[in-house]
Amino acid sequence: MSTATITTDINIGPFKIPSNGQNMIMNNYAERNNISVEVVIPEPMMSNALATTQWVHNDRKLNRVILCSIHQLPTKQDRINKLLSNMEDVEFHFALEGICGQGRNFLLERIKEAKMFMSVKTIDSTKTTWLELYKMLQEKGTR
């Protein structure tokens, strides 16, 4: 059994997590789940292709990888296809979401969920107040 943790760019979907923080999150997840980590893969900044991980997998035959979040999965279709064809036999763990699984459907569901989160509108908390937030509830409803 070969397990790797993967660090990526600091910008992870809606989050900003420096590499050191990513390692803390993944190592804590591994510890809580009694997982021993043998390989640490640094993906380059400004990339969410997980290409380095796929090269390492070809060489080392990874069984399990740990990422911080579903938002580190590729978003472009050609990158998604490559990941699915190369790594569908690998168990993926997402530490922040606390979910794990394996296979094409599992990964596609996670990619879809990440996309759904990114498409949701947000309220800018730096430009509002507590009472304005309350007013939003009163005026906009909840459906």
Partner: protein, 241 residues
């Protein structure tokens, strides 16, 4: 008053019967099984409650780790009250990825949940909370809720002073009376309603579970996929009594 009106324009909270009791009883059984703490006699919710009172903080925290395996708790809670959830937010939802199970252990020094607005967690102003005990509440171990009007008056005063969840809120705690819910009742409330627990005396700990949900169509303050997950209520739901 209609459910939605009561929650948005009325008191901000209401007590509701759990629709699918068969599922909610299954949830309670799963909890007893997964918490896996030694009890003096046959395991049931009351022997677990009694055992919790005798445990140290460290032992209770260790037992909480066992609950990490309770990965379908949120879905079970939401599906136990699916009509209520759908009435308020529709079928397409964001729900809390891991619902909470909270113990209120008797004794003044063991109180852990202070008076607060749910809004301080920064999820969204459109989130509701479902809170349900896993047994009848026969003492003051339950959660109290402060009427929305009063909660907002406090918020106004605090905001004018540049505060939130400050001394005014914390000093309200002693005067509150927790609702004595039955097993099978749930309280639903909006994120602007102050709520919390009081310390209490009993031979039993209080065990309650809670989950947050909101419409997928309403905005979030943060796209926190660590806390929320997308969830679609099943198409055809027939409530089992």
């Amino acid at each position: 008053m209609e459910l939605y009106q009561e929650l948005v324009s009325g008191s901000g909270y209401t007590v509701y019967p759990i629709e699918n009791m068969q599922l909610f009883k299954k949830l309670r059984d799963s909890f007893i099984n997964k918490i896996n703490i030694p009890t003096e006699s046959k395991k049931n919710i009351n022997t677990v409650r009694r055992a919790l009172v005798k445990m140290s903080y460290a032992e209770i925290n260790r037992s909480r780790i066992n609950l990490l395996t309770f990965s379908d708790l949120s879905d079970m809670m939401i599906n136990s009250c699916s009509s209520l959830v759908e009435t308020l937010c529709g079928k397409e939802l964001f729900i809390q990825r891991r619902a909470h199970i909270i113990f209120n252990v008797p004794g003044k020094e063991r109180l852990r949940i202070w008076n607060h607005y749910e809004m301080i967690s920064g999820i969204s102003p459109f989130t509701y909370v479902l809170w349900a005990p896993l047994h009848d509440l026969e003492d003051d171990g339950g959660a109290y809720l402060v009427d929305q009007k009063e909660s907002i008056e406090v918020m106004k005063k605090e905001q004018a002073d540049g505060l939130i969840n400050g001394p005014t809120v914390l000093n309200m705690m002693g005067n509150q009376k927790p609702a004595r819910l039955k097993f099978g009742q749930v309280v639903v409330f909006n994120p602007f309603v102050l709520h919390g627990n009081n310390s209490f005396n009993s031979e039993f700990a209080r065990i309650g579970c809670n989950v947050r949900f909101q419409s997928y169509n309403m905005p979030l303050l943060q796209k926190n996929s660590d806390y929320l997950k997308y969830y679609r209520l099943p198409k055809y739901q027939k409530a089992e009594k």
